[in-house]
């Protein structure tokens, strides 16, 4: 595919959010050469390892003689539905029968399987569909064209007279299945991308349909295989004793008792702690309990979160690096007699995906084979190759389903992946399954960072905001990673301020400043990245300004969104469906709203809460989303439900705290997450669109916490500025 065309279409999209813009910049800037080489054909040099070359029509599609259309999925299926979404685009243009389509993960191969918005193979930023919508459709159209050419040659008829429908090619009385033409089709020359004509949205049969069943099968009966389920001959299970404090090192250890335990095979030190290898998980953990280790904390982070937040509260009273500036907000605020000022606080958050981190590795000299839910194929492959002093072609990655990710499995320094490789290389040739317990996972860091924000605004005679100043203090998730050079400029990590620096509200004077802090707690992206905190500040603050102006929160927002037809339409749809201003709520109930754009999509959520004493329950959420074309509406709704549940968990309970450098939470009894009994009903409305698809996995998360806080404010008259939300 032609990347310039793709960039044009993506950039021409009505609202392209900041992180998307940065990714586009990244793609267009540093990786343009690489990007131009990427097409549905893959590079001629790079053969797929996962399929039989004789049956391969292109990098993504093979057809077997028994009539299976096998689709290679370049992204990690972690629940977001990417198997189904990408296969739908291929099957659509191929005119395949949905029932004949099967999916499997593509191998790690950047040349063939790069994320076109990232320039490397990886899954994240809600880009899976957005980056591959055209590429997958072209792959499908190319496969169809090769099938038609094969039939034309066999039947001696003009290709233009052959029709294709539901996996069958027909000419007059003659017909053939894809399977019958599989071998002949694979021998046809691959067509030129420019020669392919793609369907118009009006011609779609699968895209946009409700009843396309998911292709990530085996999840209702225990058959689906995750990293945790991988078993190889002779495999050992490894657990690691990590330093209780981040940055701590092993000073000395005694493995005697552990080694004497039944099942334990080896104990040795690695960079990240002491590894215990055993025949099975139980023996490994029991062995680990028998270790005695002395830690060297001289380089460790020994502060607690209370100290860290205290420091941040001081920082937001001082000027930071300027991320965004229009007019002279500071001056206007200084001259204003009535300034609204709110300080917001956000805790560290663990991803707490259902499957604790794990990874299977086998190292033979300078080659490695891996089995795991790999979210960052290019990054992990390069990191492993570097560790082993070998080339990436000697690192084979077999990707299996991930039991959730929410960002965690794409670690910027490949933490859990390299830990597995470091262990495996000590037992050459033996496959090793590294398993983290829930406690290991909870305490291993790579959290959503803690932040403090301070927002100050003045209002004009009509109550509209005249000037706003925003200060953000917290760690940069990009600093020190391979993405740092691309995502940080002039001291601004765009992901720390995204959602604030590019807010849609029309405020004449505005200034956004950032303090990026140095703390020894490892941090990382978490579902919806910077928007996890920026949307909360923005939407709670706007509500506070609306209250001060005596305005209705929806009407107030619409007034400030006059130049943004997309957010206006989404907000209006949600308000109408929720009965905003038209339905009566029971006593003790309140209704709140939030709207936010992230990952190219806009979501508005309207929340009803009921309050009883110091307790409250979120009763109902009505959401509206504009994500461009909804390739699979059921999955779009599922992702909005999921994003709401994930964000609601953080709004109600999630919080990682540290005391003197030690993480206080260990498992789900202390890191409390949303359960069935706290889940509201969710109703999702999708704005009809013919725009290219934009993000779906994350954009539903940012609005939920502020919508709940605003609903609580409607009942209590109080403004909530700290997450998780507490009435008392």
């Amino acid at each position: 595919m032609n990347i310039n065309r793709f960039l044009k279409s993506a950039a021409g999209h009505q609202t392209v959010d900041n992180s998307r813009r940065s990714f586009l910049k990244v793609s267009a800037g540093t990786s343009a050469g690489l990007m131009l080489g990427v097409s549905f054909n893959g590079s001629a040099l790079a053969q797929s390892a996962a399929t039989d070359a004789a049956l391969e029509l292109n990098a993504f599609v093979s057809i077997t003689p028994d009539n299976v259309v096998k689709v290679l999925i370049k992204h990690l299926e972690m629940g977001q539905g990417v198997y189904t979404g990408l296969a739908t685009c291929i099957a659509e243009e191929m005119d395949a029968a949905w029932s004949q389509v099967e999916c499997e993960h593509a191998p790690a191969n950047t040349a063939r399987y790069a994320n076109l918005l990232m320039g490397q193979q990886g899954t994240g930023g809600s880009t899976a569909i957005a980056n591959s919508f055209m590429q997958m459709r072209q792959a499908g159209a190319a496969a169809r064209s090769m099938l038609v050419s094969a039939a034309a040659a066999q039947w001696q008829v003009p290709a233009s007279e052959i029709t294709v429908s539901n996996g069958i090619l027909t000419h007059g009385a003659r017909s053939a299945t894809f399977g019958e033409l599989a071998i002949a089709a694979a021998q046809q020359p691959s067509p030129d991308a420019e020669s392919l004509s793609l369907k118009t949205p009006a011609e779609f049969k699968l895209i946009g349909q409700e009843n396309t069943l998911r292709k990530d099968v085996g999840k209702h009966n225990g058959a689906a295989i995750y990293t945790q389920d991988v078993k190889l001959p002779g495999m050992l299970t490894a657990v690691v004793a990590h330093s209780p404090r981040f940055g701590g090192k092993v000073k000395s250890f005694d493995a005697g008792a552990a080694l004497a335990r039944h099942g334990v095979r080896q104990v040795f030190e690695i960079d990240s702690g002491i590894a215990v290898l055993a025949t099975d998980y139980w023996s490994a953990t029991k062995g680990r309990e028998l270790l005695s280790i002395e830690w060297d904390d001289s380089a460790a982070e020994t502060r607690g979160t209370a100290d860290i937040l205290q420091q941040y509260r001081g920082l937001v009273d001082t000027a930071g690096a300027v991320a965004e500036s229009h007019g002279d907000a500071e001056q206007t605020l200084a001259q204003s007699a009535d300034v609204t000022e709110l300080v917001f606080e956000y805790p560290y958050l663990a991803h707490a995906q259902m499957e604790p981190m794990n990874c299977v590795a086998q190292v033979n000299g300078t080659s490695a084979e891996m089995w795991y839910g790999c979210q960052s194929a290019s990054g992990d492959q390069a990191a492993i190759a570097q560790l082993l002093g070998t080339g990436i072609e000697h690192v084979k990655i077999n990707t299996v389903f991930a039991g959730g990710g929410f960002g965690r499995r794409a670690n910027p320094v490949s933490d859990y992946v390299l830990e597995a490789v470091r262990i495996a290389r000590q037992v050459q040739g033996t496959p090793v399954k590294l398993v983290w317990s829930r406690e290991d996972d909870m305490q291993a860091g790579y959290y959503r960072p803690a932040y403090v924000h301070k927002l100050s605004a003045s209002q004009d005679a009509n109550g509209k905001p005249a000037a706003i100043q925003i200060r953000v203090a917290g760690q940069s998730i990009m600093a020190g990673t391979s993405l740092g050079a691309m995502m940080i400029s002039n001291g601004i990590d765009i992901t720390s301020v995204e959602g604030l620096s590019d807010m849609s509200y029309d405020i004449p004077e505005r200034q956004v400043e950032l303090h990026s802090t140095q703390v020894g707690i490892p941090v990382q992206w978490w579902r919806s990245v910077g928007h996890t905190h920026t949307a909360f500040s923005k939407e709670v603050f706007i509500d506070a300004l609306a209250r001060k102006a005596g305005a209705d929160p929806v009407a107030y927002r619409l007034e400030l969104l006059k130049n943004n037809p997309r957010e206006t339409a989404v907000l209006q749809l949600a308000a109408e469906k929720a009965g905003w201003g038209t339905t009566q709520l029971p006593a003790g109930w309140g209704r709140g709203v939030a709207v936010h754009t992230s990952f190219g999509s806009t979501v508005a959520e309207i929340v009803d809460v009921s309050v009883q004493g110091n307790n409250f329950k979120v009763e109902r959420v009505v959401a509206a989303i504009d994500c461009g074309i909804a390739v699979n509406p059921s999955i779009v709704r599922a992702q909005v439900e999921s994003a709401i549940a994930y964000g609601l968990s953080a709004a109600l309970a999630d919080e990682v705290t540290l005391t003197a450098g030690n993480v206080d939470q260990t498992n789900f009894h202390t890191y409390r997450v949303l359960r069935m009994n706290a889940m509201p009903s969710v109703e999702t409305h999708i704005v009809p669109s013919t725009n290219p698809p934009s993000g779906v996995g994350e954009p539903g998360t940012p609005p939920i916490a502020p919508a709940v806080a605003n609903a609580l404010a409607a009942v209590t008259g109080r403004t909530f500025t700290r997450l998780p939300l507490k009435l008392a």
Binding site: M78, G79, Q80, G81, L213, R214, D216, G218, K219, H220, N221, G222, A223, A224, I225, Y226, Q228, D229, K231, T237, H262, D280, Y281, W282, A352, Q353, M354, E355, P356, F401, A402, G403, G404, G405, F406, V435, S437, R438, S634, I635, A638, E641, S642, A643, I644, A645, Y646, L648, S649, N667, F668, H669, V673, L674, R675, M676, N677, M679, S681, V682
Partner: protein, 158 residues
């Protein structure tokens, strides 16, 4: 010392230490990997199996205490209720990452076997021990109701 277990209708003699949780016996000794490890302390429900018809967390149940019981894992569920739940799960596309879903299906099946017409409150009570970080709760609830309709209507019509 060997322990005699009855799992999915078959007898297995397992030679492990008595304090090994049933979860690891099922997963690593018998390769029944549908039952998942999520927390190891009876907090998340990923490891749920039926023991004598009761939804039970196997991460805290020792192999020694599992002897003589009728153990049914996700792979062995066969009741009409289980079939109805699993059919509804596919039809409503309940699973996302799927990692919690074996536990969800076992808990939901057990609920339905005991109560063919559960209310929202019954569902909350029976299912709140099963965490789903993907937030499939609304579809789990809808799936249980869809499956229940089959029995409730059938019973009502009979």
């Amino acid at each position: 010392m060997p322990y005699l277990l009855t799992i999915n209708g078959q007898s297995h003699e397992i030679d492990v230490e008595g304090d090994m949780p049933l979860l690891w016996v099922v997963r690593e000794q018998l390769n029944l990997t549908g039952t998942k490890f999520g927390c190891g302390m009876a907090q998340c429900g990923a490891c749920t199996v039926q023991i004598d018809g009761v939804a039970t967390r196997t991460c805290v149940l020792t192999v020694a205490d599992s002897v003589g019981k009728n153990i049914v894992t996700i792979e062995g569920l066969q009741s009409p209720q289980a079939l109805a739940i699993q059919t509804a799960w596919v039809e409503l596309q309940v699973p996302q990452c799927g990692y919690c879903q074996s536990g969800q299906v076992v808990s939901a099946t057990t609920l339905l076997e005991q109560n063919s017409n559960p209310t929202d409150a019954d569902i909350d009570a029976a299912m709140s021990g099963n965490i789903c970080r993907c937030g499939t709760y609304p579809r789990i609830k809808a799936g249980i109701k869809m499956a229940a309709a089959q029995f409730y209507n059938a019973a009502g019509a009979a």
